[in-house]
Amino acid sequence: MTMPYYVAPEQLMKDRAEYAQKGIARGRSLIASTYAEGIVIVAENPSRSLHKISEIYDRIAFAGVGKYNEFDQLRVSGVRHADTKGYAYSREDVDARSLANLYAQYLGQVFTHEMKPLEVEILVAELGTDLHPNQLYHIAYEGTITDEDRYAVLGGETETIAQQVESGWEENWPLSAALQATVGALAGAERTLVGKDLEVAVLTEENGRRCFRRLMDIELDALLT
């Protein structure tokens, strides 16, 4: 029987973190921001069918960056959790905070106990009510959870993007302004992004009970110009 080499725990964690970060940095970034009527989520995604942004429940949306199959598995389990909870209790008992905590616990568990950490960063967004403000829960690959009430940037190289969003961000800005600013920040200085490069969705009460809606095609192009 061969003895395993000793690896210092610090080194082990560092290696895992680096591995996950590399995987996440390979994909494109994603921004979520609040605006006058709700929350808008913008991702660079040329695919029309493999979504990065999706509906979880009446007022809750999910977004992920990194490895598609990994965050999609998280998305489906979130839908299952929310629907089960809403069915067993009531629709108003489903909240983003408990879901975000469950995600954080799961990601933390996988990061420390499994062979390979998940190469994902996820966002759980909840549209506010008169009693609660909008919430954006940003959960990293190792289970770190942060909550924002203005905007959140997910992905590999987020610093420059976050700076640009920060410089232009306004409270209660209209949807078109929020979209143009976030799309500009995603594109950076050298590129311009058009409707077909983007996946955009909003959470807003204008849509009735299910607040989630995708913005596509003509509607999106009109908002971007």
């Binding site: 979880i56 299952r80 089960t84 069915y87 469950l102």
Partner: protein, 276 residues
Amino acid sequence: MTLPFFTPLDDPGPDFAGLIRRLQVPVRAPASIGSSQAPVGAGGSGRAEYRHGTTVVALRFADGIVMAGDRRATEGHAIAHRAMEKVFPADRFSAVAIAGAAGPAVEMVRLFQTQLEHYEKVEGAVLSLEGKANQLGQMVREHLPMAMQGLAVVPLFAGYDLARGTGRIFTYDVTGGHYEETEHNATGSGGRDARTTIKLGYRMGMARDDAVELAVQALFEAADEDSATGGPDLVRGIYPLVATVTAAGFEAVTEEEVALRFATLIERRRVEGREP
């Protein structure tokens, strides 16, 4: 509660009913639903009386379907509830109406609504109207043992088929068998009277207003003949629920419109001097 994860081999997929079975979430047992106040039948037969929903109707018109249901729930010979809702949106483009044992019926609707939404979210695609009708059929079939004990649930399902561009109606029996209707149908204790009324006034390709009017008339006649069907409650201002499903989706007909149609109907009868 924990996050539900499954291996690819035992993944329930987009099936919500399968998921809650797997997670052992208690489906509210129909056996526990019944009247707590009057466990013994009015006739003293010793049989428990359960709340029953009564008459619901559906008919096709040019742009889609109209669905309507009275508001009465009965427990034996007593009125158990005066404002029960029996017509529900199943999702954006379909509606479900229920007759039979009220407790399990309302629970079945809740499960059905969640099932359709769950499928849509997990799969990222909407079920076809036929697929939705089949799903409801499976739920009715699973309920068969309860139906054999006297707690039958007989839903009526209708919606707008986006692929075919037309409204469609499906009826069920207690075994889960479902049958597509070309024009109209009604179920529940007053269903026979409602059906006859619709049959007499029905024309192919009716306009929306005529179809709503006919549904209102059908419920009025059913309430006239059947003691378990509630008519318009003018004292409390409770009126049957009427809804349409068209290419624009599910839309409830406003209470004002329904009230006005009943008022006109009653006034017409009065002027004609017909027997009460």
